[in-house]
């Protein structure tokens, strides 16, 4: 049951984007719409889960000296599989994510978890860690993209259907690159503020 801790770790306490500050390239680049965030998140969850599982299964057989190339081969294979499957069954999402699907290979969340967690822990724990981190990454992407899409286009769309719209003149800046950096910066500040407060209270409770 302790593996549930690994699962929730990735979602909040160790959130890959806001706490570990990993995988920022895709988080900044594809967070322009909710659809993109979900597509990217799903692909990342799949790759993270599978890479963690395989790395953990073969962790005792992998020679230390060549562990990184082996991890990269495993990750790259799963990314290619994910991209082929997306191309075959979800072509619209694949098209809108474009170059960022193959770039999942260099998403440091994935190599980071393989190296820091899966290569030292049991398969079950690694699966939970992969799922938690993947969902944490997806939620972070969703949060950023909801803010950017809403303020940048004045409406929220979910796979073609408008779920929320306003008549306020949209601030185009949010949908463009500077908006990504601004939103990311503000959210990072918010999260570290929350963490700081939490740390202070837990420290004093213990005393």
């Amino acid at each position: 049951m302790t593996s549930f801790r690994e699962f929730f770790n990735g979602i909040l306490k160790q959130n890959p984007v806001f706490i570990q500050v990993l995988g920022l390239c895709p988080a900044l680049a594809v967070s322009t719409s909710i659809d993109n965030a979900i597509g990217m998140g799903a692909a990342t969850i799949f790759v993270l889960l599978m890479a963690n599982l395989i790395v953990s299964l073969i962790r005792k057989q992998v020679p230390k000296k060549i562990r990184i190339p082996i991890f990269i081969v495993i990750i790259a294979s799963f990314v290619t599989i994910a991209s082929l499957v997306m191309q075959a069954f979800f072509p619209p999402i694949y098209k809108s994510l474009g170059i960022y699907v193959p770039l999942i290979v260099v998403n440091c969340v994935i190599l980071g978890r393989a190296e820091a967690f899966a290569s030292k822990n049991s398969p079950i724990k690694s699966i939970m860690d992969g799922l938690g981190m993947g969902i944490g990454f997806t939620l972070a992407l969703l949060l950023i993209s909801v803010i950017r899409e809403f303020f940048g286009t004045g409406a929220l769309k979910f796979f073609g259907t408008t779920i929320l719209s306003t008549s306020i003149e949209p601030a185009m800046l949010f949908i463009l690159a500077p908006g990504a950096l601004l939103v990311m910066g503000l959210l990072l500040a918010l999260f570290s503020q929350i963490r700081k407060k939490k740390y202070e209270t837990t420290c004093c409770d213990v005393k």
């Binding site: 719409s33 060549i66 495993i74 790259a76 082929l84 499957v85 191309q87 069954f89």
Partner: protein, 198 residues
């Protein structure tokens, strides 16, 4: 030395397994991917022109109705947009546009990407070469708000293709010549068949 070889062999085994897994996935998805591409183009073709079948060439399609009458041309155009190359199909019949469909684009979501909306695309229907210009340049097309570059890119490309089409259609010989050509091809087939039976 021995260790190096051992590490090399280990890595080779890993890549071999990975390669086999990828080959398997490719086998499984290949047909779907090809079908998707085909059906996407077919769908776009039916949007831009009403026809029963198409004769495909390099970057255009000739459209025919069910009685083999030539109804129009569908051109595949490409234009450099703001952040991507925009690919679109343009249907032209009698020097007028019958429809435009954006096949591929990676413009900014919420701005340039709005060129795929029918609000923008459907403006082109029924327009002649002179009318295909943004309103600010004296034409009849409303650009997408906040996406001047994407709008100009696609409008210019459509203008170019309809002007080109007008040149080939305008020369009096070209159109009948085309129908003659197909006629000749059919005759050729027949003579060949006759030869075989002989």
């Amino acid at each position: 030395m021995k260790e190096t070889i051992q590490l090399g062999i280990t890595l080779m085994i890993v890549t071999l397994i990975a390669g086999a897994a990828l080959a398997l996935t490719n086998q499984f998805t290949y047909e779907h991917i090809i079908n998707n591409q085909k059906s996407a183009i077919e769908k776009s073709l039916s949007v831009v022109i009403t026809a029963d079948y198409f004769e495909e060439s390099d970057n255009y399609f000739k459209a025919y109705d069910k009685d083999n009458n030539f109804v129009g041309m569908v051109y595949m155009i490409e234009a450099q947009g703001y952040s991507s190359i925009i690919k679109a199909l343009v249907g032209i019949s009698d020097n007028k546009i019958t429809g435009v469909d954006i096949v591929e684009q990676l413009e900014t979501p919420g701005l340039g990407a709005n060129i795929v909306e029918s609000e923008f695309k459907d403006q082109f229907i029924g327009k002649t070469a002179d009318q295909v210009l943004l309103k600010k340049d004296g034409g009849e097309i409303d650009g997408v708000t906040g996406a001047t570059i994407s709008s100009i890119a696609i409008t210019d490309a459509i203008k170019k293709v309809i002007e080109q089409d007008a040149i080939t259609e305008a020369s009096p010989m070209s159109k009948p010549e085309e129908t003659n050509q197909t006629g000749i091809i059919i005759e050729d087939n027949i003579t060949e068949e006759v030869n075989i039976t002989e």
